[in-house]
Amino acid sequence: MYAIDQSILTLILLVPLAGAILVALVPDRARLPNWLALLTTLFTFLLTLHLPAHFATSQPGFQFEINRLWIADPAISYHVGVDGLSLWLVVLTGLLAPVGVLASWNAIQARRKVFYALFLVQQTAMFGVFVSLDLMAYYGFWELSLVPMAILIAMYGRKDGPKAALKFFLFTFIPSAPLLVAILWLYTQTRTFDFVTLQHLLGHEALPATAMFWVALAFLFAFAVKVPVFPLHGWIADTFSEAPAAMAMVVAGKLGLYSMLRFHVGLFPAQTRAIAPWLIALAVIGVLYGACLALVQRDFWKLLAFAAVSHFSLVMLAIYGLTLTGWNGAVYQILSLGIVEGAMFVLLGALDSRYGTSQIAAYGGLAARLPRTATFFVIASLTMIGLPLLSGFIGEFTILSSTFGEVSRSWAVVAALGVILSAAYALWLVQRLFYGPESGLATSKPAADLYLGELAALAPLAVLMLLMGVAPSLWFKTIQTGVHPPPHTSIQVRIRNLVNPDKIPSVIYVEGER
């Protein structure tokens, strides 16, 4: 078991890459690339399940850790590990991969080899971002995650792929330039790229305050564009409407939000505290702005994009509220959103590939013809709205209640307005797509309901939405171990875990400990 624990993260990183090479080598015949990609992603998913199964909740810090020197000078290490913060994100990435493959089963007809090979490379990059504990390795995977996405948008864009690809790439590549400068500057000051060492050093050493302000800002900027935070969201609408559904759903949101928690809040607690009020304001604006724009979209991909802006902003509100409860809720909400958005992408992708349009007005009254699609869509929409007993509720409620109780009542009230608006646009979308009189499109183009692959992709997502809604403690007990105030800060935390009032986070770090 010990040997597996040592190498499990390496395996998770290498299996998709090996799969990608294999896919590139086999002939494109009889859906061979599809099957190979499906097997690879399923196998990787099984590997990721090893992590929660053998995760020791009583043990603080990183687990399944490997730390090997990769390049001697400058000292870059292959240092990977997971804690409560990244554990479920790795599993979520593992889960969404086979879902993505199944969703693309019929949607991707041309050049399947290229598609699946790049899709698998993307998986490696995503896993790498979540498990890297060396800033250079992290940066490497972070940048690598852009490439397959940009190429696939360019190749498979629905209308104007190349333009959207360029926009996506530049929007996310340019902010990573200051990020690299900041990482290099930290290295010249501390001689290390290692996250754990760096966190420790930054807590002790007094580096020049002005420089640290800019360094923290560079980190934040790169992450904020990736989330995206209002007003840096320019790329997301085009990316959502042009990217193949499977690609958009695996990258959306998670990377940026996780990076904020781990690398911005985690490394620069003082700078975070200074800038937090501004970010809370931006987050609340984002919640409302995204929701209002989602209300008026005529294209369902764009609607989904602005809904995502709204939801991700809510998570950001929780992150920069700087409360333990909020962070727990934030991680939980990232997971929940990952699942809901995954389901949405599969469903809307199914509609788009069947009817060939993403204009909401063209649809109507599909529920009678496509009952299964309608059912899943309603479940996903209700989760997105945050209906109790579904996963979205737990996350949103934890976030809003912690904001209300521990951060600011007024901001919480305004943010709650956004949640109400989300009910409006989501239910209105359901109504316009599936109910009402049958549209000309629905009658003129009879289409088949969800086929087996799509059902296989959606069913586990729907089960999870329900399970995460009724038994959140299954997840919280591991998330809590990873969410703690960064060492050497004096964030005053009132623990008020609303989900498990009797269960206080088992590990709380106070000043000077660790």
């Binding site: 990769w70 390049i71 001697a72 000078d73 400058p74 290229v114 250079m136 940066y139 490497g140 995977f141 940048e143 690598l144 852009l146 490439v147 940009a150 190429i151 360019a154 190749m155 792929g161 190349p162 690809a165 360029l166 790439f169 530049l170 590549f173 340019i174 330039a177 200051p178 690299l180 400068v181 290099l184 500057w185 290295y187 010249t188």
Partner: protein, 508 residues
């Protein structure tokens, strides 16, 4: 200790010279109707031998030969191996892409090899006059090669532009050498390093360095000495451009490192800000101009100017860190640039029927192999991690950061974001289906022969190795940097140049 025979110090150059002479003689003595392709293989074998000989030189004790004019050290071996590797790949590309019926194939291969002699000698020379001679050997070969397609209008235009501007720049270099001699009374680099700080006429040394920098920066095509680059790259045949844009630049950068770090480190406060400005100018001018290009080779020409800028950023680094970063970048740049020019050669064809970015539309559908390779090399040029381009830029900027040039790093990284736009434009075009209006269905499906296939494989392997496991190459670059950084030895060999007493009364 038995002294090392002088000839061992220049063994790679000797092998290359013999190869070049053999190629020319055989070319002249076989009947004109015989195919000349095997001469290319002969040149490739000679280059491989020279590469092997340079590696063998590592077993020699470091030191100088021929009266203190030529040095062998880890630094020279690093650049010898790099240059021989580049020339080998360029020869392999030429073997499959030069049309069989083209004239003067023998001369072509011989000139490539003679150029390599000059470039190798340039990296090993520690005597400014030998530096000058080496530079001329390499330049004259490349001038001729640039105009190899003389039946087109652009070929001779490229050659003449390159020749006129190039000889002008070399004149600057020579004038600088003369001023160095005037200020210190010697042209031996170690001697200059010892004497320059105490030179009576400080201004003369500064002027000399400025002159020499003009000459060298021209060779590396850094702004504002870059104007020749796009025209020459456009006019010269693509395999020649693959060579032109890498090997002479590697040699010139080796010379620049030697001049500023070994010969005149005492003038750091003068050359460091100067190179800072040139670095910023090169990247900005290169990238902005590249954005507007329609011709692939012109775009890559401007991109090479920008890359010279990124490389010059390493010179803000102090000591070994800067030298090692610059050496590493040279290698990384050479690997990806050779690769992309090999692809461009195959796609555009020798006579360049398809020179425009638009002509690359749908390449990945026409030829999946070349299309993916093109995108791969473009990704490396952008500087995405796990490719050589990333670590090249990374080390270069890390060195600059270490030297305290934060502003330079920020400008550099913003520039690399800008550069991504035009590299991506080409990548995106190659990945797009061709529309009816620009259909190149009649365009010949490029064939990838054995030689050019091997060249592409070498370039891909080098780019990947430098991006995934750069440790070894970086280590050799650091070893080389240390030999350059170490205080120059007191000259043991007799000084060739007589010390002129400037105050002596004029002779009769």
């Amino acid at each position: 200790v038995t002294p090392v025979p002088d000839i061992y110090r220049i063994l790679p150059e000797v092998i290359l010279t013999l190869t070049g002479v053999a190629v020319m003689l055989i070319d002249a003595s076989i009947p004109p109707e015989w195919a000349r392709r095997s001469l290319g293989w002969l040149a490739a074998i000679g280059t491989t031998l020279a590469l092997w000989a340079s590696l063998w030189q590592l077993s020699l004790p470091e030191g100088t030969g021929f009266f203190g004019t030529v040095e062998t050290s880890t630094f020279t071996v690093f650049f010898h191996v790099l240059i021989c590797g580049i020339v080998l790949v360029a020869l392999l590309v030429s073997l499959d892409t030069l049309p069989a019926e083209s004239h003067h194939q023998g001369e072509y291969y011989a000139l490539v090899v003679f150029g390599a002699v000059g470039m190798c000698l340039l990296t090993g020379a520690v005597e400014l006059l030998v530096v000058f001679v080496a530079l001329e050997i390499s330049s004259i070969s490349t001038y001729v090669l640039a105009g190899y397609r003389k039946q087109t209008g652009r070929g001779p235009e490229a050659a003449i532009k390159y020749f006129l501007l190039g000889s002008f720049a070399t004149a600057f270099l020579l004038y600088g050498i003369a001023l160095i001699f005037g200020a210190t009374g010697t042209t031996q680099i170690y001697e200059v390093a010892h004497l320059a700080p105490s030179a009576e006429n400080h201004a003369l040394v500064v002027a000399a360095l400025a002159m020499m920098l003009v000459g060298i920066l021209f060779k590396v095509s850094a702004a504002p000495f870059h104007v020749w680059t796009p025209d020459v790259y456009e006019g010269a045949p693509a395999p020649v451009v693959a060579l032109l844009s890498t090997a002479p630049k590697a040699a010139a950068f080796a010379l620049l490192l030697r001049v500023v770090y070994e010969m005149l480190p005492s003038l750091r406060s003068f050359w460091s800000p100067l190179l800072w400005v040139v670095a910023v100018l090169s990247m900005t001018v290169g990238n902005l101009a590249a954005l507007r290009q329609q011709n692939v080779k012109r775009m890559l020409a401007y991109s090479s100017i920008a890359h010279a800028g990124y490389l010059l950023a390493a010179f803000a680094g102090i000591g070994t860190i800067g030298i090692a970063a610059a050496s590493f970048y040279t290698a990384a740049y050479a690997a990806m640039n050779l690769g992309i020019f090999a692809v461009v050669t195959l796609v555009s064809g020798y006579d360049e029927k398809l020179p425009l970015i638009e002509d690359f539309r749908g390449l990945i559908y026409r030829s999946p192999l070349l299309g993916s390779l093109l995108i791969f090399f473009l990704i490396s040029l952008i500087g995405i991690p796990f490719t050589g381009g990333f670590f090249g830029k990374f080390y270069s900027f890390a060195a600059a950061m270490d030297g305290g040039a934060v502003a330079l790093v920020i400008i550099g990284l913003l520039n690399s974001g800008l550069a991504a736009a035009y590299y991506l434009r080409l990548a995106v075009v190659a990945a797009q289906r061709s529309t009816a209006a620009t259909d190149h269905a009649e365009a010949p499906r490029p064939e990838v022969g054995i030689a050019v296939g091997a060249a592409l494989m070498l370039a891909v392997a080098a780019t990947l190795v430098l991006g995934i496991a750069p440790g070894k190459v970086l280590h050799s670059a650091q070893l080389g940097a240390r030999t350059l950084e170490a205080p120059p030895p007191e000259s043991t060999a007799p000084i060739l140049s007589p010390v002129i007493d400037m105050n002596a009364p004029p002779g009769p």
